[in-house]
């Protein structure tokens, strides 16, 4: 194996690294913002809210990310109403389609994780808040959500890794993410080992970074909760 031409093309991989990081980070932030209300809807006593959230989660968790991406990137072009509207500016770009697909996908998984964490909130915490005279909104903001986030952390770190790995499909719709860069190098030099092993190393690096960050976060949050 000869990795010298990989070094010559390192900027392509670095560009891929940037695209992957940007896509995944933005999708995680946006997905989380959607996931919180979604989890609350899923736990709501209102049937309509519950059903909407449940169907959304059911569809996104039951189908492959690749298909969701294809539906958005290739599929939307078939819908004349969208093609004629201002939205088309957004849907014709592979980058925005990938971001949308990743955001929707991670929001569904994150909502399920949050739902589980909210469900296991100790009854006493809520009762204590109520006896303090907090209203529903305050309990949610100060007690329920922070406590749930802490418990959701280990499962959420898995979801982050899953999204990072899942994001490799962006390379299929012409984007130059890490996988996209590797595919270009492979077709240019016909050297699959070097091209894809380099990509694998970049993903490993990112994965270990994520795992390390979450370990730090878990430690910090454990301490602030008064060491159990």
């Amino acid at each position: 194996m000869d990795f010298s031409f990989i070094l010559d093309n390192l900027d392509l991989y670095l560009q891929g690294l940037l695209t992957t990081s940007k896509l995944v980070l933005s999708a995680l932030v946006l997905g989380f913002v959607i996931a919180v209300p979604l989890a609350l809807m899923r736990l709501s006593s209102v049937f309509a809210l519950r059903t909407i959230a449940r169907s959304y989660i059911y569809f996104l968790r039951g189908t492959p990310l690749l298909i969701q991406l294809f539906l958005i990137y290739y599929g939307v072009g078939q819908l004349e109403s969208i093609k004629a509207s201002f939205l088309w500016v957004f849907f014709k770009e592979a980058y925005w389609c990938a971001l949308l697909a990743f955001t929707l996908n991670t929001s569904a998984y994150t909502a399920e994780i949050l739902r589980g964490a909210i469900n296991t909130t100790p009854e006493g915490e809520i009762e204590a808040a109520k006896s303090f005279g907090m209203n529903k909104w305050k309990i949610l903001r100060r007690i329920l959500l922070p406590s749930a986030f802490r418990r959701a952390l280990p499962a959420y770190s898995n979801e982050v890794i899953f999204l990072l790995h899942g994001s490799a499909v962006a390379g299929i719709i012409t984007l130059i993410d890490i996988t996209g860069a590797a595919r270009i190098i492979n077709s240019k030099y016909y050297s699959p080992f070097e091209a894809f092993i380099t990509a694998a190393l970049f993903y490993m690096l990112l994965s270990f970074l994520v795992i390390g960050l979450f370990r730090l976060l878990e430690k910090k949050w454990q301490q602030s909760s008064g060491q159990q």
Partner: protein, 230 residues
């Protein structure tokens, strides 16, 4: 929008290939998973190190990258080997074999963790009791360990199966004529990508729903048995 211009059967025949790929990969993954779990729990340092590297590396690299590596890399490797033994014809690896072996190899790493956890969960006393009445190691494995660990392994196993099922969509990228690729071709021919990808999404939804129901039933059954034995 839901007129499939006669391509419906084509896509559905691809669904069969998707199921075939999924089931064969699962069988392979179970094989690797059991091997990996036994290696991880063995007293031999070499075996343990190999198993730990296997699970760590596989779980930190995307499925798609591994698949491309094994498909394109395997091609080069096989032809290189063939050339060494004097065979000069170009050998092409079938995407079916590449797909199944990659998915099996990847999920073997995930199942290694599931099986390892399940084996540890079986009380030590059970195994000691088996040994005490003179069972051989294989007998202990078959009669004591395996039936009991399956109960603990089932939830993790189920999750892995659901993820595996969805991962099979990636084999279309290396050119296997599964449901996704057939839909892509049909979408290109009819200019109806949304209709066809929605069809594929619904098919996957059906597969995962049926799987979930079966897994729930299996978990219920196994836990009932556990109660009866007490």
């Amino acid at each position: 929008m839901f007129n499939y211009d006669g391509y419906l059967n084509t896509v559905l025949s691809g669904a069969l290939i998707t199921i075939e790929v999924a089931l064969l990969s699962l069988a392979l993954a179970i094989f690797f998973g059991i091997l990996g779990a036994l290696a991880k729990l063995s007293k031999n340092v070499v075996l343990r190190t190999v198993a730990v590297s296997y699970t760590t590396i596989i779980r930190s690299v995307p499925d798609l990258v591994l698949m491309l590596l094994i498909y394109f890399g395997g091609q080069v490797f096989v032809n290189y080997l063939a050339l060494l033994i004097g065979y000069e014809e170009y050998i092409e690896i079938s995407p079916f074999i590449a797909g199944v072996s990659t998915i099996g190899f990847i999920f073997g790493a995930y199942l290694t963790e599931t099986f390892r956890g399940a084996i540890i969960a079986v009380p030590k006393g059970q195994i000691e009791a088996g040994e005490a009445i003179g069972m051989s190691r294989l007998q202990v494995l078959r009669r004591i360990l395996f039936p009991q660990m399956m109960r603990y392994a089932l939830p993790g196993f189920g999750n892995n199966w659901l993820v595996l099922l969805k991962t099979t969509a990636l084999v279309s990228v290396i050119g296997l004529d599964d449901m996704v690729r057939k839909a892509s071709l049909a979408a290109g021919a009819t200019q109806k990508p949304f209709s066809f990808y929605l069809l594929v999404a619904i098919a996957f939804l059906a597969f995962t729903t049926i799987s979930t129901l079966l897994l729930q039933w299996a978990e219920h059954r196994y836990s009932l048995q556990a109660k009866g034995e007490k």
